[in-house]
């Protein structure tokens, strides 16, 4: 065969990451973690924010850099309803206005800094980011977690990690990635469907653990008795609620997983995840917490598996797909709506799109692979802590 008969080498296309940050609600952490009476700094959206509590206990968010001489308000203190700058003690209110300069007769005109609109939902604190400066449309909000007011749920187990040299689009791609479940998370995706509409994107899936993977601690309660199902939805560009149902001998275990992030710079983002598990009926508090801790551990393992991939992969604008892959291009078109001005959002970005993958053939092949591994006594991974 001569060189000319061979297909051309595929090149990876990759433009520089966008300089702007997504429009939408971004979760910046558990609300409670900001309620210790001190100002907190959050590096986000290419700048720094300060989160503080006023005397009513309401959380306020401002630009952290003081408009006087650039002092960092998050290093200051909360005094009454205001945050006081550590540099010259200027007092900034939650409405963005400078209320007082203790050593001056009057506050200069235009002594006003940027405020960030906040929302407290699901025990978490959100800020609204829009490069155009518009308020959030009424129907663009963070919903309350379904079923959270029925029964007892464990406190959030919450984690946060800075991902550098990566754009947050990488994590959003996961919404359509069926095959990585097998290779990265050691689970069979036995059902996989996506729906995108408006600012919302969902992944419906069912997965069961690989028998050749020594990774999922089963504990005293034993392992799952069948495939677990998940409904994982992004509400906007960065906040996902994932409802997970896992059948166990004693009944279904309901867990809610939050997967969210906020951009720090165009090439880094803070990834956060939290998990809460519903106390199964007949469980004591201790038993429920122990089981939840086991679940949280499993979820954390999953995140670390993804992170390892993101940290090392290339940004690719032109993925080469096979028929068993999910709708990566359509998902990215959906995601693009958050990076253009509202008046430039095109119908294709928001019109409803549904995609169900035929997972049958892939699973047949994977079952065979697992059988061969079992027959040969091979285990694909041993998680630290598992024997």
């Amino acid at each position: 065969m001569t060189a000319t008969q061979e297909p051309e080498v595929r090149t990876i296309e990759s433009a520089a990451p966008p300089v702007r940050f997504a429009r939408g609600w971004h979760c910046i952490g558990l609300a409670e973690s900001f309620r210790d009476g001190k100002p907190h700094g959050i590096e986000a959206f290419g700048t720094k924010l300060v989160v503080f509590t006023d005397s009513e206990g309401e959380l306020k968010v401002l630009d952290s850099y003081c408009r006087h001489m650039g002092g960092d308000l998050s290093q200051g203190t909360t005094k009454g309803d205001e945050v006081a700058c550590p540099f010259h003690d200027w007092r900034w209110g939650g409405d963005g206005k400078c209320k007082r300069i203790p050593y001056a007769k009057r506050v200069p005109m235009r002594a006003r800094t940027r405020t960030w609109q906040t929302l407290e939902r699901n025990d978490q604190l959100f800020v609204w980011h829009d490069p155009q400066g518009n308020p959030p449309p009424e129907d663009v909000t963070i919903p309350e977690i379904r079923g959270f007011n029925e029964g007892t749920w464990t406190d959030w187990s919450w984690n946060s990690v800075l991902i550098e040299n990566s754009h947050c689009r990488e994590i959003v791609d996961n919404v359509v990635d069926m095959a990585h479940f097998f290779y990265v998370h050691y689970a069979f995706p036995v059902y996989f469907r996506n729906v995108f509409e408006g600012h919302i994107a969902t992944q419906y899936s069912q997965t069961k653990a690989r028998a050749d993977a020594d990774i999922y601690t089963s504990g005293e309660a034993g392992g799952p008795t069948g495939p677990g199902s998940a409904e994982a939805t992004y509400f906007g560009p960065s906040y996902m609620i994932d409802y997970e149902t896992t059948p166990m001998v004693f009944g279904d275990v309901q867990a809610v997983l939050i997967n969210c992030h906020y951009p720090v710079s165009p090439t880094s983002f803070q990834l956060q995840w939290g998990i809460s598990v519903k106390h199964p009926e007949g469980f004591t508090e201790d038993q429920a917490n122990e089981m939840a801790a086991g679940f949280a551990g499993g979820v954390e393992t999953g995140f670390l598996q993804d992170i390892e991939i993101w940290r090392n992969k290339a940004k690719i604008d032109n993925p080469l797909l096979c028929d068993e892959d999910g709708p990566v291009y359509q998902l990215r078109r959906w995601y693009e709506q958050f990076y253009v001005d509202v008046e430039d959002v095109t119908p294709e970005m928001v019109q409803r799109f549904e995609y169900e993958i035929d997972v049958e053939r892939a699973n047949e092949i994977w079952e065979k692979e697992v059988e061969e591994n079992l027959a040969a006594g091979r285990t694909v991974v041993t998680a630290p802590g598992n024997k």
Binding site: A15, G133, D139, R169, G198, I200, F235, D344, Q351, D358
Partner: protein, 93 residues
């Protein structure tokens, strides 16, 4: 993708079946769909897994041969337009 009309609400969508178990549906306007209308607002509509009426209409189209089942030859051409997030200058409001 081929046009399919819902037997109940007459919404026209584009559908594609690579295999019997695979389905892709590109909606235009989804506001006529009766099942979604019952769901309520934008959020509830988006959180609807699928419309059973449309699903049945697609199955009918497959049975009648109107909607061929098989991998589309044009898939690569159609799907690989890189989405680049060409950033626009930030306008502060």
């Amino acid at each position: 993708m081929e046009p399919v009309t819902c037997r109940t609400c007459e919404s026209r969508v584009l559908a594609q079946k690579n295999t019997l178990a695979h389905t892709a549906i590109q909606w235009g306007d989804s506001s006529r769909c009766v099942e979604f209308a019952m769901a309520g607002g934008v959020m509830e509509r988006a959180m609807n897994r699928s419309c059973r009426e449309l699903r049945a209409s697609i199955d009918d189209a497959v049975r009648s041969g109107e909607l061929p089942v098989g991998p589309p030859d044009d898939r690569v051409a159609q799907d690989t337009q890189p989405v680049r997030f060409d950033a626009q200058p930030v306008r502060h409001g």
